[in-house]
């Protein structure tokens, strides 16, 4: 019996790179890789060449120069004598602030709407459908513009709050004598302490030690509360009876902070109309509110759909089993359905957070100066460093996005199904 003839022994031929299936995919990959790298190199070379032709260099020293412009809504101390780098930081913090508040609001609204859209109540379910369809099908920029137009046109100007000398009355009156809605900002009371512990000067911003103390006490209370709850769970496991916890928790969480705050002499500092504008309190600018509202309502519509999809992904049997155990509908939702639905919800939710953060760059439309407005707007224009500013801005957005998905992935790993 003869064995099957071996493949003819011969050397490697170049044509094998195309005709031999063993090598073909490698060949294609190598060619594509070379083309892509070549294209990138050509682009980079072109940029360098053009910069040379224009007599421009690529350096970031402009970040150290005096900015010279003012920013209306800086969270950290800033004035026009500070550097472009500082203005960048102000913008970055504004971006993070509005994104953070936007994500929080969008999540809360989104979960509510998503759950209610599955409600058995016909009217509620339809209303939520209308909300979702209206908000997610109209560009977010338009929502932001609608919000600013409403805020600007509906509210009176600060002047309307001025007391007329002749009549002794003002055209508009403040809500509870402490909140004033105007067409520029909402003036709200700010927190004032009679006794100050001083403040800690950091490079970023001076931090009031009073606030620091309150935060530390609050964190300590939360930790103690957690210990107490763990203890209660142990007692429950051992005896089957869970000790009444709610008033103890409330006491531990609230009492220390309140006592400390009173000891420090906390009182609200109410805004007063003085000259053209309110002073004394905090003025939350309409551009910020409009941006925040637009971003959160828009993103909430998407989150609602994600939440709904997550809930629908949990089999009906889970609900029926919970009902069979005697759990009420709302307990079923919060104890059985939502925790499982989270596994489906979290990954697409990350994308929504990233979208919201990136969409915050639309702030330029309403004049809220965040990263795009300071670094990518005024700084870019005043220094003429387009390439540097845009590159830096892209890197910063990339870093923010990667951090958000990093944090959310950690959370996702904690809630995802643990297979043992």
């Amino acid at each position: 019996m003869t064995s099957a003839p071996d493949a003819p022994e011969q050397g490697f031929r170049l044509s094998q790179l195309i005709y031999d299936t063993r090598y073909r995919s490698l060949t294609i990959q190598a060619i594509v890789f070379i083309l892509v790298m070549g294209g990138a190199a050509w682009l980079v070379d072109n940029v360098i060449q053009n910069l040379n032709d224009l007599g421009k260099d690529f350096n970031f020293s402009f970040l150290g120069q005096r900015a010279g412009y003012d920013i209306g809504n800086a969270i950290i101390p800033y004035n026009n004598d500070m550097s472009h780098g500082r203005a960048l930081l102000v913008g970055l913090i504004n971006t993070l602030w509005v994104s953070f508040l936007g994500c929080v609001a969008a999540t809360i609204i989104g979960i509510f709407v998503g759950v209610l859209r599955l409600s058995k109540n016909w009217l509620v379910a339809r209303l939520m459908t209308v909300y979702v369809e209206v908000f997610r099908n109209i560009p977010v920029l338009l929502w932001i513009l609608v919000a600013i137009a409403l805020l600007t046109d509906v509210a009176p100007s600060p002047n309307a709050y001025k007391v007329n000398q002749q009549t002794g009355e003002a055209q508009a009156s403040m809500l509870l004598d402490s909140v004033a809605f105007t067409n520029r900002y909402t003036a709200i009371p700010s927190v004032h302490f009679d006794r100050s512990l001083g403040s800690l000067d950091t490079a970023l911003a001076p931090i009031s030690l009073n606030f620091l103390a309150l935060v530390i006490v609050l964190i300590a209370s939360i930790w103690v509360n957690k210990r107490m709850l763990t203890h209660a769970a142990k007692v429950q496991e051992a005896t089957g009876v869970r000790p009444t916890m709610w008033w103890k928790s409330a006491l531990v969480l609230i009492a220390p902070v309140v006592i400390l705050a009173i000891a420090l002499g906390i009182n609200p500092e109410e805004p007063q109309i003085k000259g053209f504008n309110f002073t004394g309190g905090t003025n939350v600018s309409n551009s910020f509110v409009a941006l925040w509202l637009g971003l959160s309502l828009y993103t909430a519509a998407f989150i609602a759909e994600i939440v709904r999809a997550g809930i629908l992904a949990i089999s009906k049997g889970q609900t029926e089993a919970a009902f069979a155990l005697g759990l009420r509908a709302n307990r079923t939702m919060s104890l059985v359905i939502l925790p499982q639905a989270l596994r489906v919800i979290i990954p697409p939710l990350i994308s929504q957070y990233l979208n919201l953060t990136k969409n915050s760059s639309l702030a330029i439309a309403v004049g809220y100066l965040e990263l795009r407005g300071t670094l990518g707007g005024i700084t870019l224009n005043q220094t003429g460093r387009e390439l540097e500013a845009i590159t830096l801005m892209m890197l910063i957005y990339l870093a923010i996005s990667l951090s958000i998905s990093g944090v959310m992935n950690v959370y996702n790993n904690r809630v995802k199904l643990k297979e043992r």
């Binding site: 682009l43 072109n46 940029v47 060449q49 053009n50 032709d53 224009l54 007599g55 421009k56 010279g68 412009y69 003012d70 920013i71 209306g72 026009n80 920029l141 600007t152 046109d153 100007s157 002047n159 067409n183 520029r184 003085k274 000259g275 053209f276 504008n277 002073t279 003025n283 309409n286 551009s287 760059s361 639309l362 330029i364 439309a365 004049g367 100066l369 795009r372 407005g373 990518g376 707007g377 005024i378 870019l380 224009n381 005043q382 220094t383 003429g384 387009e386 390439l387 845009i390």
Partner: protein, 338 residues
């Protein structure tokens, strides 16, 4: 929205390699069209009418250059640019010429690699307030909210002015003149600040212009000049001398009415040189002999353009002031055509 403009400009900067260095004159001639960067809409300076035809003081510069180079003032493509996008548009080669009330400053001239040709309007930054606010001087604006266009020199002037006078203000940043107008009318700011000419033009478009006053203080020098890219001296000369031709024409009494008559030859050698009947100045900048005739014919001389677009007979109602001829006590002064 804006981001795409930047990326567009970036891509343009990378892909259209070498364009910036090439001769703009040849590009314009082979294209048969001048691409002119103008304001997004400032009545009197550059604004499209209901039919999409642009007109205005800055537009007249574009048309004069197009007439001088291509022989036809209508061969202009207008690219509306915002305060933010204008320099990128020019630098990337998207536009050949930027005639968009742009202030000539040191850093723009040197660091931004622009070439300002010749000042065609001497302006200064002012403030506009509502009449019923009772404000009569910019010194009374302490604590006011002020609407300001981003990406302009006015932003820096404002900061400097309030600092120098030890006053505070709340900047309300807007992206375009239209948005500033809207915010100001809605009362979102106490004062609107930009170049005084821009204020006058903006006010002219209001429903009740008399309810608003422009404060007397002028807080800066704003020489507005058409700009081109650095590194193309021939093109710079063409634009610069076209503007000077318009200014000179007014000084020598050359108007759109009598130019055909004068172009046949006059007793004044300077006029003859300007209009190409004596010598050949056009050839020195790569244009026809009668380039200036065509440029002046487009919309008339500087004085005629001024009167027709922003002068006292128009709703904008700007007086000549600093922009009168030097012989009338103004700053408009064309170097000799020789």
């Amino acid at each position: 929205m804006k981001k795409s403009v930047f990326f567009g400009a970036l891509t343009a900067a990378t892909l259209t390699a070498g364009l910036a260095g090439a001769a703009t004159l040849d590009d314009v001639k082979s294209r048969g069209e001048l691409i002119c960067g103008v304001n997004t809409g400032l009545v009197g300076f550059a604004a499209p009418d209901a039919n999409g035809n642009w007109s205005g003081f800055d537009v007249a510069v574009c048309q004069a250059v197009a007439a001088a180079v291509l022989g036809d003032p209508s061969k202009v493509k207008y690219v509306p640019t915002s305060g933010q996008t204008r320099f990128t548009a020019l630098g990337s080669g998207e536009v050949d010429l930027l005639a968009r009330n742009t202030t000539w400053t040191f850093s723009r001239d040197t660091d931004l690699k622009l070439q300002f040709t010749a000042t065609n309007y001497y302006d200064g930054q002012g403030f506009m307030v509502r009449k019923d606010s009772g404000v009569t001087s910019a010194k009374e604006l302490d604590g006011a909210s002020i609407c300001i266009q981003t990406g302009t020199t006015t932003e820096l002037n404002l900061a400097d002015y309030f600092k120098a006078n030890n006053m505070s203000y709340q900047p309300i940043t807007v992206d375009s003149n239209a948005e500033g107008e809207q915010q100001f009318l809605a009362g979102a700011c106490d004062a609107y600040t930009t170049d005084a000419s821009g204020l006058a033009a903006t006010r002219a478009a209001f429903a009740n212009p008399s309810d608003y006053v422009i404060l007397p203080e002028i807080i800066s020098k704003e020489p507005l000049a058409p700009a081109v890219r650095q590194g193309d001296d021939q093109w710079t000369d063409i634009v610069r001398w076209t503007v000077f031709a318009l200014i000179g024409a007014e000084e020598y009494g050359v108007t759109s009415a009598n130019i055909d008559e004068l172009a046949k030859g006059t007793d004044n050698p300077e006029v003859n040189r300007l209009l190409g009947t004596e010598g050949d100045l056009g050839a020195m900048i790569g244009l026809d002999k009668d380039w200036a005739v065509k440029a002046i014919k487009a919309n008339g001389n500087y004085g005629e353009i001024f009167a027709a677009t922003i002068g006292e007979q128009t709703p904008i109602g700007l007086a000549r002031g600093l922009n009168a001829q030097w012989t009338q006590g103004g700053l408009m002064y064309a170097p000799p055509f020789r």
